[in-house]
């Protein structure tokens, strides 16, 4: 009886696995003709310099924020005194300050950590509370516990026909994803698109947002990306993470901040910085119709004076396909 059940189980799993592989290979968002995306990679060797570099990047990017409400979505997961898990508070605070200088009406920082229920503790330990306090006008919203509203999903990549999302995300005029550049043991990399997991409210779906895992991580990322417009990206690659990310990888001094007006271009650029082929990252490939992942369709902002390729160690059990593309980097006036 048991062996029969086991045989049926193995067959069912093999069938399900086959279907999943087929789906993962074929489904993607259809591409549209798009204007070129603007991308800037600015050197920033240390967080001491981040305030100025963020301001330089914002001036290059010139985001349309005058009179608008802006939501900054950093990546806050867990606090570690040794591992660079979270978007650095200096970068977040600098973005808040810069956006106000550019005329934003209101800038809110919002995140819904995936595992940690005590967001207050995380804010205090990672230093973001103090950094935002110093800026003055910034408010923080715990997206896990914000008021929620229902939206309909727009792809058939997951079985989710609707999603409940935080009010402050849906009400924002401009959404800026601020990921930490990291490798990820399930998704390959975690950048501006994967960062969207943090907008899904734990008070509805739990900690972690396990519903998304069961819908397939890659498909869930794309479902979220199709539903939630990311207008701009500021990615923290000053100290990035390689190997067993997103929590237990190794710190990697990448020494740059990435700015873009297209999340696909931003994530693709970050992949190239890590020497990872973005077309071999399933969620980026599937979402490719939402933006420009090909560098031929980018306007590189700033002074591109050097090329950057720094092969990142892949997560355990995963072998990165290496990108041969290189990204021009604006050296700026701090370069050695």
């Amino acid at each position: 009886m048991t062996s029969r059940r086991n045989a049926v189980g193995a067959l069912a799993l093999a069938g399900t696995g086959g279907l999943a592989v087929r789906q993962s290979l074929t489904r993607r968002i259809p591409a549209k003709q798009r204007p070129p995306s603007r991308v800037a990679v600015l050197r920033c060797e240390s967080y001491d310099k981040a305030t100025q570099v963020v301001w330089d990047g914002l001036q290059l990017l010139a985001p349309a924020v005058r009179g608008k409400t802006v939501l900054l979505k950093p990546n806050l997961v867990e606090y570690s005194s040794t591992a660079p898990i979270n978007t650095h508070p200096t970068v977040i605070a600098a973005a808040v300050e810069g956006l106000y200088r550019l005329g934003a009406a209101k800038v809110t920082v919002g995140e819904g950590p995936g595992h940690v229920r005590d967001t207050e503790l995380l804010l205090e330990e990672c230093g973001l509370r103090a950094a935002l306090h110093n800026v003055g006008k910034a408010t923080f919203v715990d997206l896990n516990n914000d008021e929620v509203h229902r939206i309909s999903t727009t792809t058939s990549l997951t079985a989710l026909s609707e999603l409940w999302l935080p009010r402050c995300l849906l009400a924002a005029d401009v959404v800026i994803s601020m990921p930490k550049i990291k490798t990820h043991h399930w998704a390959g990399v975690t950048l501006s698109l994967k960062n969207l997991f943090g907008v899904v409210p734990g008070s509805v779906y739990g900690w972690p947002k396990n519903v998304l895992h069961w819908q397939g991580i890659d498909n869930s990322i794309v479902e979220l990306a199709a539903a939630i417009p990311i207008h701009y990206v500021i990615a923290d690659g000053v100290v990035a993470m390689e190997g067993n990310g997103p929590l237990h990888g190794t710190a990697r001094q990448l020494g740059c901040l990435v700015f873009a007006d297209d999340p696909l271009a931003a994530d693709s650029a970050c992949c190239c910085l890590m020497r990872v082929d973005p077309r071999r990252i399933p969620h980026i490939l599937k979402a490719s119709g939402l933006g420009n992942i090909d560098s031929a369709n980018w306007n590189i902002l700033g002074e591109g004076v050097s090329s950057w390729r720094m092969p990142f160690q892949s997560p355990p059990g995963m072998a990165f396909s290496r990108s041969q593309d290189s990204i021009p980097v604006a050296r700026g006036h701090w370069a050695p």
Binding site: D118, W164, S203, W207, P315, P316
Partner: protein, 280 residues
Amino acid sequence: MATTPYLELRTRAPRTIEELALQRLALRKTARCFSDVLGAQLPCGAWSNRPVTAIPNVYSTGLALIALSHADPTPGVRASVWRGFDWLDRTRGREAHWLWQWKFRLFDRQVRFDPNKFGWPWVENTVSWVAPTAIVLLAYKAWNRPSGRVTSALAMLEDRACSAGGWNAGNGHAFGVDLDPHPDVSAMALCALEAHGAGESSLVERTAQYLGQRLEECGSAYSLAWGVLALKRSSGPHLGTLVESLRRISEKNKATLSTAALALTALALESPAFDLGTRA
């Protein structure tokens, strides 16, 4: 009784069932009002943490049942409670199914756990996690409700503990790395184990030690309150410091604390100690 957390708590309008249940528990001595908890129950017997979503939620169902264990035991309350437990009896982590057990045994082995030992998920069709399992175990204890699920859930908690004591969100080891515990989840699991008589194990001792040290410098009332609720049973060496710290932080930040943190603070500062797994 009429100290800071209580006064502030009375002014709050809860937004979730978690907040509502904890608020009603904290204010139970002055106002035994549980009609809004009863009224939020879904037809399936569960509670949705965000009633507008109508998504059944295990964690908030457990908290609602704990809150109702302090209500007058009218026939209406009893009927509501049994419907809640019936739903919990039917709801289990996905790893409980033999098909998914195969998946975890054969293919999905990066996260180390024994799928035979399962508890409760946050929401249906997902796997078991520590926080909802611990809260539901406390609800079963509070109502002395017998269930075959309790043994497996207690075994799950022991199986998924972190190596140095305490609990992370779901397990103690993933992708070749021992995970760090979280104080609030560790406290919930400790409360559950102790309520079910597992208070003498070395895991309980290690967790109590972890909590005492981890929370010494903690500035969050929410985690501190959970820690105090868990450590009050054992009265360990850190308890006095943590209670004072909680009193000071909650007084200073009372206006900005979440309703859940405020209610937990009120419960943690009660004397004699409040026990989540004991019915009124």
